[in-house]
């Protein structure tokens, strides 16, 4: 699918705030690596980030790399700009991705698809530099 790149000027105050629970995730993203919490007790990967495993409540959590790809299960296209910073950015597409069992999350599609993304379609995950020396995982059709 044809794609196009665009500026995505997220203001610093909307960027993820680092906490002891999420630091490994964002530190890995800054190195172009997607990691997910895995439970040492039951082996489950999970999302969102949590200080304990939602399966067995163990607090023994390690952040392991996962594949940099996923499948689109749904998507939306923002036509309305809700913030001044998105005025030059709309329309933009955010897709809901299944990555590995237990891990589903939305990601901005960047570069953006020219047409409608395909549900069930495969995406690759890359990393978009934003402020604060941070990077956001984003996805694009393959």
């Amino acid at each position: 699918m044809d794609t196009y790149a665009f500026e995505f000027p997220v203001p610093d105050n909307l960027l993820p705030r680092m906490t002891p629970d999420n630091a490994p995730y964002w530190q890995a993203a800054a190195r172009d690596q997607l990691v997910m919490p895995h439970c040492e007790g039951c082996g489950r990967a999970f999302f969102p980030l949590s200080p304990r495993c939602p399966g067995c409540l163990s607090d023994r959590i390690t952040f392991n790399p996962v594949v940099h790809e996923g499948r689109i299960s749904s998507w939306v296209r923002y036509r309305k700009s809700y913030y001044p910073w998105t005025e030059g950015v709309t329309p933009y597409v955010v897709a809901l991705l299944d990555i590995v069992p237990g891990v589903r999350l939305p990601m901005l599609m960047h570069p953006a698809p020219q047409g409608d993304p395909e549900i069930g379609g495969k995406v690759k995950i890359t990393f978009l530099a934003v402020g604060n020396n941070q990077k956001l995982p984003v996805c694009s059709a393959v």
Partner: protein, 379 residues
């Protein structure tokens, strides 16, 4: 009649307007006065209070001269409306109060999804799946993802929402207090509405208007002519739920796979001794129009995957098989976190709904998000 632990003795609301020029406190005062009048109660008889947004509980008591022995307030999200009523009923059953006033109001909310709130930046996303750094800023995000998912899972017409919106916009023309009382919208005109968060259009969203409502939940012996709460069930918390969706859609953090959800008579129906077919009028929390279709399925008013056909066949109309959102609902009457639906059901069951009255309405259902429902009977 089934045994019931509480009744709704009175319900009322303020005038609804896009920009009222009045404070939430003033609007809440109007709603409280209307509900007390309807219940035939003096404010000194109210001994319980639950506030669900608009004014803090302490100022409600201070401003309006209440002395309540049970006082509470909730997270200011509309999904707490059904749970607030059920909590009031439980408070009464536990003997902690006899008349619990439940109130909600708002003023000056011209739009949602703008100012980034602390809540939207929670770990794991906002209450509607907002992720501000991806530009996923508005509550409609979750509903838009849900509707696209539904269309894909069931092969539905993506424009089926036009049937919901047109029906409710028509109902609003029969309601002198509806914000959009003079603005019907045909199904064809719906299709030329602009997209806000595709696939949702402007007309699919709740109105960001000013208004307030009050509902008084009372002990049956203290309000013999109240409307009985025949049954109810609370809001589900956990990974099985995705707001504005159903279980088993693989949305948000749902672990349960597609196909794992099947309809079974809800506990609330069993408590009331009814089935879906015994319900005459329904109010569905419709901050986004897809909820109407999804919740009709969830509560057994049609089969899974067929809600979009149900609305396409005109069955939700006043005069149809099951009138839904007869006041116009959030999209056409008032975006009031479900409280306007409760007031409307109260009026329907009292025979006070005027031009939009559902003939023979004896059992009404309020459907609140995430699996919560309240079944009301006529007096």
């Amino acid at each position: 009649m089934a045994r019931h632990m509480a009744v709704i003795s009175g319900a009322g609301c303020s005038a609804y307007a896009m920009k009222s020029g009045r404070t939430a406190a003033a609007l809440i005062g109007d709603a409280i006065a209307a509900a007390l009048d309807e219940a035939g109660l003096h404010k000194s008889e109210v001994d319980g209070l639950i506030v669900q947004g608009g004014l803090d509980y302490d100022m409600v008591g201070i401003n309006f001269g209440l002395e309540t022995r049970y006082s509470m307030q909730t997270w200011a999200h509309g999904r707490l409306t059904g749970p607030t009523i059920l909590t009031a009923a439980a408070v009464i059953a536990a003997g902690m109060a006899r008349h619990v006033l439940c109130v909600h109001g708002r003023s000056g909310v011209s739009r949602f999804g703008g100012t980034p709130s602390v809540e939207a930046s929670r770990e794991g996303g906002g209450a509607h799946g907002e992720v501000p750094y991806y530009g996923l800023t508005a509550p409609g995000s979750a509903a838009a993802l849900s509707w696209r998912r539904y269309v894909d899972l069931y092969g539905a017409d993506i424009d089926a929402l036009r049937h919901v919106v047109a029906a409710q916009r028509h109902n609003a023309t029969l309601n002198p207090n509806a914000v959009l009382r003079d603005k019907p919208l045909s199904e064809d005109d719906y299709l030329s509405e602009r997209f806000i968060i595709e696939p949702l259009r402007r007309a699919d969203f709740a109105l960001p208007n000013d208004g307030a409502a009050a509902v008084i939940v009372s002990a049956p012996e203290a309000a013999p002519s109240g409307l009985p709460i025949l049954g109810g069930q609370g809001m589900i918390g956990g990974r099985s739920e995705a707001v504005f969706a159903r279980p088993g859609m693989e949305l948000a953090y749902q672990d349960d796979p597609v196909g794992s959800w099947t309809y079974a008579d809800p506990e609330a129906y069993r408590a009331a001794g009814i089935t879906a077919r015994d319900i005459h009028v329904v109010g569905i929390y419709d901050s986004f129009s897809p909820s109407v279709i999804l919740d009709l399925e969830r509560f057994g008013h049609c089969r899974e995957g067929e809600g979009w056909r149900f609305v396409a066949e005109g069955r939700m109309a006043i005069g149809g098989d099951l009138p839904v959102n007869t006041s116009g609902g959030h999209v056409a009457e008032s975006g009031l976190s479900g409280w306007n639906h409760v007031v409307e059901l109260y009026r329907q069951l009292r025979g006070q709904a005027g031009a939009r009255q559902v003939a023979g309405a004896q059992v009404g259902q309020f459907i609140s998000p995430n699996g919560c429902t309240v079944i009301l009977g006529a007096a």
